[in-house]
Amino acid sequence: MGSSEVATELYVLLSAVLFIMGAMGVLLRRNAILVFMSVELMLNAANLALVAFARQWASGAGHLMVFFVMTVAAAEVAVGLALIVAIFRTKKSIDIDNLHMFKG
């Protein structure tokens, strides 16, 4: 490993920070789309870690995984947005805090 290369640990750290930021976003945001984007951020944090590890291990499995994650994320986006649209039509709001019809 050359000195110019950034250590894997730093990437992982960064990915962890991103992951936590995403998680906070999910917790704090009330707009469904923003929440949803936070989830995407978490997925991308994972992607970052995967790529970093793939570089470290010099194997393709990580990259492969990243592709799958991206693809699946796209699919999720499609479904997620459709749901959000649907619920917006019904409730005229995409504030997820309004989703509390059910009580134990």
């Binding site: 894997t8 992982v12 990915s15 992951f19 995403g22 998680a23 999910v26 469904a32 929440v35 949803f36 989830v39 978490m42 997925l43 944090a45 994972a46 992607n47 870690a49 995967l50 970093a52 590890f53 793939a54 470290q56 291990w57 194997s59 499995a61 990580g62 492969l64 995984m65 799958f68 994650v69 699946v72 699919a75 999720e76 479904v79 997620g80 459709a82 749901l83 959000i84 649907a86 619920i87 039509r89 019904t90 409730k91 997820i96 989703l99 019809m101 059910f102 134990g104």
Partner: protein, 504 residues
């Protein structure tokens, strides 16, 4: 790993039930376009046909009649076609069959008779099947999403009904949230081991343990993340909170199906990931995996919370939701037991037994809920059970069987499942969690029995609506529950040779 494998190397034949279903689902998606809205029973029939064919294909190897392909590995080890995956296939397919049967008239009643329902269901089923057969973390992830995404849609299938939409969005957001944990866990495991296939993980784990490398921290955290992601799917405490809301809001036919399917998938993956990949991951060089304590603690929490909270529920769907949380706890005992290498196979078998039992019983129980539910999604309170025995003796009898099975009374499948799970737990020396298991079973008896007493000991309207397909589903579920309870060897013999470990 390197080199382009030839088609024969892929050993696609071994994946026959799953690959058939994948193709069939895709075809059906196209075919459905040409089926007019008024004739969706054709789609339903075709779905059943496809599922039935796939079921036969899955049963053949399980019953030892025929074995497709050459060996257990397919797609270069990505797909493992062993007895465990056969078992998962069968459970998933049976659940799907029942799911279609209970859905058909229900969809008519809620005026949502659409083809999508059926092929989405097929895709979910496929996801479940692949999860059970996963030989690689990547496959686990993909299968999980294949399982989940259609379920998000199905949960909202009753749009623009607010409850249904809300439950779908809730499920979706939380599901995606949990998925990201799973992905991150995969990344960490990958970081620790450098591979994503279970066999590789297994080997790497051996090295890590042998060298006492620092990778074990990464691996532990990764395993924990995976547990979170999958624990969410199976509704283990404390990742369970979506369950009651989603179950209550989603169309009951979907709940009947997904309460089982999602669990089967989640547990299959848990067994694969933890049992196949990391059963040898012991920190002190012993035979007990490092994650075992965590899993059984979660199992204990799940059983306690699920059962106790179920007691105070007054809505059948919510009650069954908590009940399903509780049952996740019981199955988790099996998963925990798989953390002891000598018991791993027995534990995996126990999980299969339990899931089978659970599939019949739970789908059956929700089918009964479907029967009493009114078109406006009301009448799912416990009171709807009052006096059912007098008006609908057979329906009530079936429900009684399901309740007894969920309680774990002998001669029902539920008992067999519990027996195997507890047996595995004891073999793995997990006596405390087994004790929690039996004590909470006792607690569960109370609320299950309450349903029975509402049906039998009290007077009431007892209104119910049992069209033919639903009746068939309930009958099959009842018979399945009883047959498995009385002749458990039918299944236990089939799953006798489950082997999880890659190690020597």
């Amino acid at each position: 790993m390197s080199g382009v494998p030839s088609l024969s190397d892929l050993n696609i034949a071994a994946t026959l039930p799953a690959s058939f279903l994948a193709l069939y689902a895709c075809l059906l998606m196209i075919v459905d376009l040409f089926i007019p809205r008024t004739r969706k029973h054709v789609t339903a029939g075709l779905t059943i046909l496809g599922l039935a064919i796939s079921l036969v294909l899955a049963l053949l190897p399980l019953g030892g009649v025929a074995r497709f392909g050459d060996g257990e590995r397919a797609f270069g080890g990505m797909y493992i076609a062993d007895q465990f995956s056969d078992g998962v296939n069968v459970i998933a397919l049976i659940t799907a069959l029942l799911g279609v049967m209970v859905a058909y008239n229900y969809l008519d009643r809620i005026q949502r008779q659409r083809g999508e329902y059926y092929y989405l269901l097929l895709f979910t089923t496929l996801g479940v099947m692949v999860m059970g057969a996963a030989g690689d973390l990547v496959v686990v992830f993909v299968a999980l999403e294949l399982l989940s995404i259609p379920l998000y849609i199905l949960s909202g299938f009753r749009w623009p009904q607010e409850a249904s939409e809300e439950s779908a969005l809730k499920y979706f957001i939380l599901g995606a949230f949990a998925s990201s944990f799973l992905v991150y866990g995969i990344a960490l495991v990958y970081g620790a081991t450098g591979v994503t296939d279970f066999e590789g993980v297994w080997r790497a784990v051996e090295d890590i343990i042998a060298e006492d490398a620092s990778g074990k921290y990464l691996l532990l955290v990764g395993a924990g993340m995976l547990l979170v992601g999958l624990g969410f799917k199976v509704a283990a405490v404390p990742f369970h909170m979506w369950t009651p809301d989603v179950y209550q809001g989603a169309p009951t036919s979907v709940v009947a199906y997904m309460s089982v399917a999602a669990k089967v998938g989640g547990f299959a993956a848990l067994v694969r990931v933890l049992g196949c990949g990391m059963a040898n991951f012991s920190l002190d060089g012993g035979l007990v995996a490092a994650w075992q304590d965590t899993v059984w603690l979660i199992a204990a929490l799940t059983m306690i919370l699920g059962n106790m909270v179920a007691i105070v529920q007054s809505d059948l769907k919510r009650l069954l939701a908590y009940s399903s949380i509780a049952h996740a706890g019981y199955i988790l005992i099996g998963v925990a037991a798989a953390g002891s290498v000598p018991v791993a196979n027995e534990a995996a078998r126990a999980v299969i037994m339990y899931l089978t039992a659970y599939a019949f019983t739970n789908v059956g129980a929700f089918s009964v809920v479907i029967a009493v539910e009114r078109d406006d999604a009301s009448n799912t309170g416990l009171e709807s059970m009052r006096g059912l025995a007098a008006k609908q003796p057979l329906l009530a009898a079936s429900m009684a069987v399901f309740m007894l099975s969920l309680t774990g009374i002998p001669l029902t499948a539920g008992f067999v499942g519990k027996w195997f799970v507890f047996k595995a737990a004891i073999a793995a020396d997990l006596i405390p969690v087994a004790v929690v298991g039996v004590v909470t079973s006792l607690v569960s008896a109370y609320y299950y029995l309450r349903i029975v007493w509402y049906m039998y000991f009290e007077q009431g309207e007892g209104e119910a609506h049992v069209p033919v397909p639903l009746a068939w589903a309930i009958s099959i579920a009842t018979v399945g529950t009883l047959v498995l309870g009385i002749f458990p060897y039918l299944l236990s013999d089939m799953t006798n040779e489950i082997t999880l470990a890659f190690g020597p």
